[in-house]
């Protein structure tokens, strides 16, 4: 009927978390190879992660590093070589070069294009389809109507994020490390990472009185996210009516328990929407989701406005 997925960075988080609300798991943090025991950069951990996910009856997708430089291509190639020996349900790429590497290695697994793949048009989706891509994550700047157009005119699966922070910019080095006292002692990628990203880092502009900032961003080191949480829980019926079927909750950078709480709410809301049942009162779900969203909720660009607006019940 529909698929709900989320992301998990490493084996520890996978084993300790509750991801039972999800049909599929994107394994790995595509933004930072230094993230501890990241599936995306630790080929030796892939099999254990894959087995754990499959044992739970879920699909396992492997995320590959999003912005490899020339010097990264060798180790990315090693991860790919290991992954291609395992029964992953798909591999996710954000980088055209990595997509080319998969093709050169004869990859027969489905390939998903990730959020930093700059997918804006159905014609680009067709180009990528010719290179083995079966699912695309359209750029967050696209409206729902544009997303649907791509799905229909390229005849390709589209991944529709329904909740969580929006990836806005990716970095080749760690912003947190570069702006910490320790950053002066060693550059990012030189084995000096002290994993300060385990603490929450925020960029804020505006009010200095401790209240919600006019503008806020969350920074995870190699990726900057929206300050607000995208929230589409009130719009499940519309999503189902548009023929969209693959939904995603962004988990990277969130505290333990976030994916579970959000996932169960969306599992219920989407199941009702797809069954054609009355939606009921969203207030309790919205209260829970708003409680998890420190800087509030938004709809992203789905309704053709600025990414941090929210349309629905006043949040």
């Amino acid at each position: 009927m529909f698929e709900l997925s989320t992301d998990v960075g490493n084996l520890k988080e996978l084993r300790e978390g509750d991801f039972s609300a999800y049909d599929a798991i994107y394994l790995g943090d595509f933004s930072c190879p230094e993230y501890p025991n990241n599936f995306s950069s630790h080929a030796e951990l892939l099999e254990a992660g894959l087995q754990h996910v499959h044992a739970n009856g879920q699909k396992a997708y492997l995320r590959l590093y999003a912005v490899p430089g020339n010097d990264d291509l060798d180790w990315v190639g090693d991860v790919i070589d290991t992954a291609l020996q395992l029964p992953f349900d798909a591999l996710e790429v954000h980088n055209l070069g990595v997509l080319r590497m998969l093709r050169e290695r004869g990859c027969t697994a489905p390939i998903h294009l990730g959020v930093f793949g700059n997918l804006y048009t159905h014609e680009t989706a067709k180009v990528l389809k010719d290179h083995g891509v079966t699912r695309v994550y359209p750029n967050p700047e696209l409206s729902l109507d544009e997303v649907r157009y791509i799905a229909e005119h390229a005849d390709i699966e589209v991944l529709v994020p329904v909740h969580g922070k929006i990836p806005l910019v990716i970095s080749e080095t760690c912003f947190i490390l570069e702006h910490s006292e320790e950053g002066a002692e060693g550059g990012c990628g030189e084995g000096s990472c002290s994993y300060q990203c385990t603490q929450e880092h925020w960029l804020k502009r505006g009010r200095d009185d401790g209240s919600r900032a006019d503008w806020s961003l969350k920074d995870t080191g190699r990726m900057t996210l929206s300050g607000k949480d995208l929230c589409m829980v009130e719009h499940g019926e519309r999503l189902a009516g548009m023929g969209l079927k693959h939904f995603y909750v962004h988990n990277k950078g969130e505290a333990p328990g976030y994916a579970a709480a959000v996932g169960h709410i969306y599992r219920d809301a989407l199941a009702r929407a797809f069954a054609g049942e009355a939606a009921g009162d969203f207030a309790p779900a919205l209260d829970t989701l708003a409680g998890l969203a420190r800087e509030g909720l938004c709809n992203g660009y789905y309704f053709e406005g600025a990414g941090q607006r929210y349309i629905g019940r006043d949040r």
Partner: protein
């Protein structure tokens, strides 16, 4: 022979840079390039620029590097066919689908991939070459060695900007949506063309939200003075001989959104510098140092004014929406 390409943010600028020694001028089409309309040309101006360049044995590249809407693509192709028919020899494009459509219909034109493609490695370049790219523009931050590796990966023209940022940091342009997250509007014109405020990728100005003062805090404790999020690129020259030796085919002077007099003076200096390099095995570029330093200062002054104007727009729009 390396091609020096310079900006035509206005018709006056386009003619000026050609007069000052640029081999080619690049001009954006209103609504179709990664700038606001004030730094783009309408069709009459584009035709005039093409005629002016061709009469002097020079070339025009047309910038159509927005990431368009799917429904705009027929209009995109029609525009490219029109400008190619007028004599434009190349197009700067970001969208892969648009790139393939252009190469299918106009195999003789040069396709330059734009910064919007977000290249990070030589495998990216191979992919784009196989798709039909004739030139790939590299990001501002690559080292000479990285460029050499990319050049060695396959036969494709290498284009670099004559300004750059230090390696690392947030990938901009090409992988950033921060501007539109805070301030974004979309509207259709009478021809059905999409226009966007707040998104460079989609055809407006980046509103430079990275350049405001941000408080960076961890667990609610500010641990830095207010700071900008991203460093700005600066004009460079010292490594130019190494870049050319590494196989760079096209040098791109930045500045569509700068004043004509500043861009004119930049082109003058770089024309002389490039000629000096091409004429000598051991070029002495120190003679340009003081001129370049002055140009860097003028560049920063104009950038600050522009950033402040755009940031003001971003803040006003964001507050307007919040109050609505």
């Amino acid at each position: 022979m390396v091609m020096m390409m310079a900006p035509g943010g206005t018709l006056e600028m386009a003619k000026t840079v050609l007069d000052e020694g640029a081999d080619a001028v690049y001009v954006g089409v209103v609504g179709w390039s990664r700038r606001g309309a004030q730094d783009e040309l309408n069709d009459d101006e584009i035709r005039h620029t093409i005629d002016y360049a061709l009469a002097r044995g020079k070339e025009v590249r047309v910038v159509v590097n927005t990431l368009p809407s799917s429904t705009e693509l027929p209009m995109f192709v029609e525009r490219v066919e029109r400008y190619a028919g007028w004599g434009a020899q190349g197009f700067m494009i970001s969208d892969l689908g648009a790139m393939r459509l252009v190469k299918e219909r106009l195999p003789h034109v040069n396709v330059h991939t734009s910064v919007g493609c977000g290249i990070t490695n030589y495998e990216d370049v191979r992919f784009l070459r196989e798709l039909g790219a004739d030139y790939v523009v590299l990001p501002y931050r690559l080292s000479v060695e990285e460029i050499r590796q990319i050049k060695g990966a396959g036969k494709v023209g290498i284009e670099v900007f004559l300004f750059k940022t230090p390696s690392g940091g947030k990938i901009c342009p090409g992988k950033c949506n921060m501007s539109s997250y805070f301030s974004f509007r979309r509207w259709l014109d009478t021809e059905g063309k999409d226009h966007f405020f707040g998104s460079a990728s989609r055809g407006g100005d980046c509103l430079r939200v990275c350049q405001t003062e941000w408080n960076f805090n961890v667990d609610d404790i500010d641990y830095r003075m207010p700071m900008t999020i991203k460093t700005n690129p600066a004009l460079w020259l010292e490594e130019l001989p190494d870049y050319l030796a590494a196989g760079v085919d096209c040098l791109k002077v930045p500045g569509r959104d700068r004043s004509t007099v500043l861009v004119r003076d930049i082109v003058r200096v770089y024309r002389r510098a490039v000629d000096t390099i091409l004429e000598s095995d051991r070029p002495d570029l120190s003679v340009f140092a003081s001129e370049l330093e002055i140009l860097r200062g003028r560049w920063m002054t104009e950038r600050a004014k522009r950033d402040n104007r755009l940031l003001r727009q971003a803040i006003d729009e964001s507050r307007r929406v919040a109050a609505a």
